[in-house]
Symmetry: C2
């Protein structure tokens, strides 16, 4: 069984809703968490608001110091940020949870990505890193809510490196209530990212914070 105890987890874009929510749950789960942001000051504020030993710094410093790095930045800045951190991220597991989505009057929809998906874009930009895709559908609201003891969903973990996906599955299971389920190779990441648009539609229709569970697994 893969263990992630002792791992220092960096979260790029950790001051956003999704990144901060993951940071909070990982820190509460006993992991060392470093929150990254363009602004070291905002990163430190976010870390202080989480407590549990979380620290904050600029994205580059966090990428250099962490053992495993989660990318939780807006899609707009995704490619440029990763290009700028290629050496800091070399040799490390990089977990992409970016959802390239557009929004209009009819709701959310998937944006086309030249490389196929945000995760494949990360892999193209970071040839020396071990890119895994995961955490796309986790509700930031539930992650931040102190009244929510367990998050009722499975995290689909995609990648071409078995050891790396096993590590990220174990990391997902630090979130209370969550299972990490292998979800296929990186070339099948697009639809997992894009499905976030459907989950947003479900949330609107049913006034919910919907998640996925995989049955028979």
């Amino acid at each position: 069984m893969t263990t992630v105890s002792g791992l220092t987890v960096g979260i790029l874009g950790g001051t956003g809703d999704q990144g901060k929510g993951l940071a909070r749950r990982f820190a509460l789960g006993g992991l060392k968490v470093l929150i990254g942001s363009r602004s070291a000051e905002r990163a430190r504020e976010a870390a202080a608001s989480i407590g549990a030993g979380a620290e904050g710094d600029e994205n580059a410093a966090v990428a250099a110091a962490a053992d495993l790095v989660i990318v939780a930045v807006p899609y707009e800045g995704h490619k440029a940020l990763l290009e700028s951190l290629r050496s800091e991220l070399a040799g490390k597991i990089v977990v992409d949870c970016v959802n390239p989505l557009g929004f209009d009057k009819q709701g959310a929809y998937a944006l086309p990505v030249e490389e196929g998906s945000a995760a494949q874009q990360a892999a193209a930009v970071l040839p020396d890193s071990r890119v895994v895709a995961a955490f796309h559908h986790v509700s930031a609201v539930l992650l931040m809510d102190p009244a929510v003891e367990k998050v009722d969903l499975d995290v689909l973990v995609l990648g071409d490196d078995r050891e790396a996906t096993d590590t990220v599955r174990a990391l997902a299971e630090v979130l209370p209530g969550v299972r990490g389920v292998y979800g296929g190779r990186l070339r099948n990441a697009h639809q997992v990212e894009a499905l976030t648009a459907n989950i947003i539609s479900i949330n609107r229709r049913y006034k919910a914070h919907a998640g996925l569970r995989i049955t028979d697994v």
Copy 2:
């Protein structure tokens, strides 16, 4: 509450695994089921093997006679078949459950579709029909297995016509154990179709017949 009792359901490609499995469960659920195929003889054989009052005929005759038509043909023949049935399908709910997938040594992957998805292709070809996308992830094996009393998954139902998606949600709930859950507009059908590639990966890894459940709904 929308009801589907009294509805005659036609299934184009009803001699394939997926179509036959749906036909069997709908017939057992008390619906009048017509199985369509290129060959009327093979359609009648499939209907006889199901029993429960199911009948078989050529695709065109089934499209003309049914109130609601499910499209369960291989993606290769999808567009041409629907083009040939435009008048028979006019005014009807057409439920597309086609998954455009390719397969190679690394498993399944999503094929690009010019219109965005099989369901959008159906809508483009059938401007006078009410196209809904659903039933993409239902395991044919579980549908056909007499030992499986309940199928443990939700059917995502997508479309731009509220009344039509409500009808198809009710139709999905004829399958024992299944919920029909609204899953967004037709423009977000691609990722639901493509996600079948991920489910195939999950089935291989975990030796499972995986399905999706939507939590908090």
